[in-house]
């Protein structure tokens, strides 16, 4: 996008936190994030530029896309931590780094097998319970991430936790799918 270069210090190429004028930290007030997102989106959204020229409309679309992206990354705590750690130079490498404590992996595999079995058996009760357990674990991990990143600055441990979290979120997704399949 050519205008990035023509605008020194552009907000467009700023990181997600800077774009929304938020401190670079894991603990964010969700309502404040919502407010800031809406405030910026209200300025750049294509709906504000329907009467403008094509170039301006395209620009608005790029900006609104950019702002939506920032919000999508910062809103879910797991994504936020992943992004923040990468900014801080501790990329959790969730795609490539699969080195994980064996005990954790075993536990996840067992859990997944149970979920698959419950899906096959249409065991809604088990799936609901599994969902609740996992959801609680994930929420706890979110809290831990705030402590690790914002207070203890232990980015290495945080990166490891994020890798685990991504595993758990994927599994939660599978449980959701299973529940959907079982209940419909």
């Amino acid at each position: 996008m050519s205008f990035e270069n023509s605008v020194p210090g552009s907000k467009f190429s700023a990181d997600h936190f800077a774009l929304l004028d938020l401190p670079r930290q894991q603990g964010l007030d969700s309502a404040e994030l919502d407010r800031r997102f809406r405030r910026v989106q209200a300025l750049v959204h294509p709906d504000r530029y329907v009467q403008a020229g094509d170039a301006q409309q395209r620009l608005a679309m790029q900006w609104a896309t950019r702002v939506n992206e920032a919000y999508q990354v910062l809103k879910p705590p797991g994504q936020r931590a992943l992004y923040l750690l990468t900014l801080l130079g501790f990329d959790p490498q969730v795609e490539s780094n699969t080195a994980m404590p064996v005990a954790f992996l075993m536990q996840q595999m067992e859990f997944r097998e149970e979920v698959m079995a419950a899906r096959a058996a249409s065991d809604e009760v088990f799936l609901e319970a599994a969902h609740a357990t996992l959801h609680r674990d994930i929420t706890e991990a979110h809290q831990q991430l705030i402590t690790l990143i914002d207070h203890q600055h232990d980015y290495k441990t945080a990166a490891e936790l994020v890798r685990k979290l991504m595993f758990q979120e994927k599994l939660l997704h599978e449980i959701n799918d299973a529940l959907e399949a079982v209940t419909s």
Partner: protein, 622 residues
């Protein structure tokens, strides 16, 4: 391309002038047009006072098309040339059409979208829909007494890319400047939310003639945020009629019917369904062309029983949308009922039971979508004062993905992503020296390509020969504020860029549209090139106006040299805008655009910079 903005040459649009804008609900069964007058959204009726225009088009041998009540009259008399519920064919291939075998049309399975052979020639659903839109455009012009700046056209939230593109094409063909495609439940939420100052989580349950949508929104002052949407773009009142139709055939033991009798029975099935909304049972008495009599009574219990699975489908989609939004039924503050089919008591009851609350029926379910569309059109046309406006955040209904090895789908943009949205995905070659790669774009939730909708296929050529796995091909999906997709691809390692803008396979090429436009104009004896000139002039004036007001707002961020260049380009365009030389006007517009690009970008950046400093250059009330 903007259409239909013909102003007299000396009638340059003054800033802050009220612009005539309309909202159109292009429905399966009925269509409506509405506008905002003195701050009130109103549906515009025809000269006989009918607010609804039946979405029926009848072609006669002389090429003429009757639309609405005039066409409806011919439904069973001339079924082959009288097209009802054309919306169900928009962006659809022959195989996609439900109960196609019971429809009286002579389908032609054209490339991409099905077409219908009529006495006036082969017509595409886009052309047929354009006939309906034309009538609504004329109704709007007559009521408002002038040319319309633009229109907001509603589409089912669950419409996929091909169906959206087809709708936009139809509007363009009808001579409308589309300000925005707006999702029907979102339009209803705007009308409901503004009228009732509603705040909190609301569900919009929209069961129309041929489509079902469920949208979950968070409403607050100045904001309409769609959290999740779901539905079925081939489920509506028509399907309830069809169940009754099948029940009649079964009960009366009827042999294969003539086209006339099919239409006749379909009409009676629909009447019986509507009668049941007010009564416990509906008598069905029909004399067929064979002289045979059908004499049956449809009770509420039977009707509920034969349509149970249809109702169940709406409930499943509703639960899924709630799950996607991460919400429970208890968190939903109200359920707004939209669409004529929500009048069916079993729907009201089922929705009430699911949400554990009485559904909201205080708006006319037939009109609420058009009213909301008009409000949004009024906003987009710039007729509302700063601080008295709202921000609308909508989502894409279906995931977008690419075909990978083995017929599997790699999702690139998940459903319910807030639009506009862009996402890129990297792919690589799987053979040494591979120089081309085929990209197949699909839409849908399933993991297999074969059960998703194919949107586009294109070849990315000119990849520099490398060992397998070395090339990095970045495919970018961009979905705009209309929910329409464009795809581009580029090879990263060498910087070799092969940008390809993709139009969905079901969409029309620009050439096809201009051909159709030409055809349309020769019928109407309008001069296509004159019209194109007028459009260009209006667009040029709009550009001048927009830059003029931008300069007033933030001239200080321009250097004297930049300012001089912009002023010169503006002056030049001003001088040529009234000429009849299209290439010259076009070139002047491009020059002005070029001169202002950096200014526009800086201005946007500045407004974001200042968003949190309290000295905003634009109104911010959120």
């Amino acid at each position: 391309m903007a259409l239909l903005q013909i102003a007299e040459p000396d009638e340059s649009v003054a800033p802050h002038q009220h612009r005539l804008a309309i909202g159109i609900d292009l429905g399966t069964t009925n269509s409506l047009v509405a506008t905002v007058r003195s701050g009130m959204s109103v549906v515009l009726s025809d000269e006989k006072g009918h607010p609804l225009l039946p979405s029926v088009v009848r072609y006669s041998a002389d090429g003429k098309a009757d639309v609405g009540y005039a066409a409806e009259f011919w439904k069973s008399l001339d079924p082959k040339n009288t097209i009802v519920s054309v919306k169900r064919f928009m962006g659809r291939g022959h195989a996609d059409i439900a109960h196609g075998e019971t429809l009286p049309y002579d389908f032609v399975d054209a490339q991409g979208m099905v077409k219908i052979r009529t006495v006036a020639g082969i017509k595409s659903p886009v052309e047929i829909s354009a006939e309906i839109l034309k009538i609504l455009r004329l109704r709007g012009e007559a009521a408002l007494g002038g040319e319309i700046t633009g229109a907001v056209i509603t589409v089912p939230a669950y419409f996929d890319d091909a169906q959206r593109q087809a709708t936009k094409d139809a509007a363009q063909l009808a001579g409308l400047n589309v300000l925005r495609l707006l999702n029907e439940p979102t339009a209803a939420a705007i009308a409901y939310g503004l009228d009732n100052a509603a705040e909190g989580i609301y569900a919009i349950f929209d069961l129309g003639g041929g489509t079902f949508d469920i949208s979950v929104l968070r409403l607050a002052k100045g904001i309409f945020e769609v959290l999740a949407t779901g539905g079925d773009s081939a489920l509506g009142g028509d399907d309830f009629d069809h169940r009754v139709f099948c029940w009649i055939i079964e009960q009366a033991g009827l042999k294969p019917l003539t086209l006339h009798d099919t239409r006749l029975l379909q009409g009676h099935a629909r009447e019986a369904k509507e009668y049941l909304s007010q009564h416990g049972e509906a008598p069905i008495t029909v004399k067929l062309s064979s002289g045979e009599y059908v004499d049956l009574v449809l009770t509420t219990d039977i009707f509920t029983e034969i349509t149970r699975t249809l109702v169940q489908k709406t409930l499943s989609a509703t639960k899924k949308a709630l799950r996607d939004a991460g919400l429970t039924v208890a968190e939903v503050r109200g359920v707004v009922m939209v669409g004529g089919s929500t009048r069916m008591p079993q729907i009201q009851r089922a929705v009430g039971e699911l949400f554990k609350q009485e559904p909201l029926n205080n708006l006319d379910p037939d009109k609420v979508v058009a009213l909301g569309a008009a409000m949004q059109a009024n906003l987009l046309a710039g007729n509302r004062a700063a601080g008295d406006d709202w921000l609308l955040l909508d989502v894409i209904p279906l995931s977008l993905g690419l075909e990978t090895m083995g017929g599997l789908v790699e999702k690139v943009i998940p459903r319910n992503s807030t639009i506009p949205v862009a996402r890129a995905q990297e792919f690589t070659t799987f053979k040494d020296g591979q120089t081309a790669m085929s990209v197949h774009v699909v839409q849908g939730e399933r993991d297999l390509v074969s059960v998703c909708r194919s949107l586009a296929r294109f070849e990315l050529r000119g990849i520099p020969p490398m060992v397998a796995g070395a090339a990095r091909i970045r495919v970018t999906f961009q979905v705009d504020a209309d929910g329409l997709l464009s795809v581009s691809a580029r090879e990263q390692t060498t910087g070799h860029e092969a940008r390809i803008e993709v139009k969905p396979s079901y969409g029309l090429t620009d050439n096809e549209i201009s051909e159709m436009l030409k055809d349309g104009f020769s019928h109407a004896r309008e001069d296509a090139s004159l019209r194109a000139l007028r459009e260009l002039q209006v667009e040029a004036r709009r550009l001048l106006e927009a830059i003029h007001s931008a300069l007033i707002g933030s001239a200080e961020i321009l250097s004297p040299g930049e300012r001089a260049r912009i002023d010169a380009a503006m002056l030049h365009l001003q001088n040529v805008v009234d000429s009849d030389d299209r290439p010259v006007i076009d070139a002047a517009m491009n020059a002005l655009s070029d001169a202002t690009n950096a200014f526009a970008a800086r201005r946007m950046d500045q407004s974001v910079q200042q968003a949190f400093t309290g000295k905003n250059i634009d109104q911010v009330t959120l």
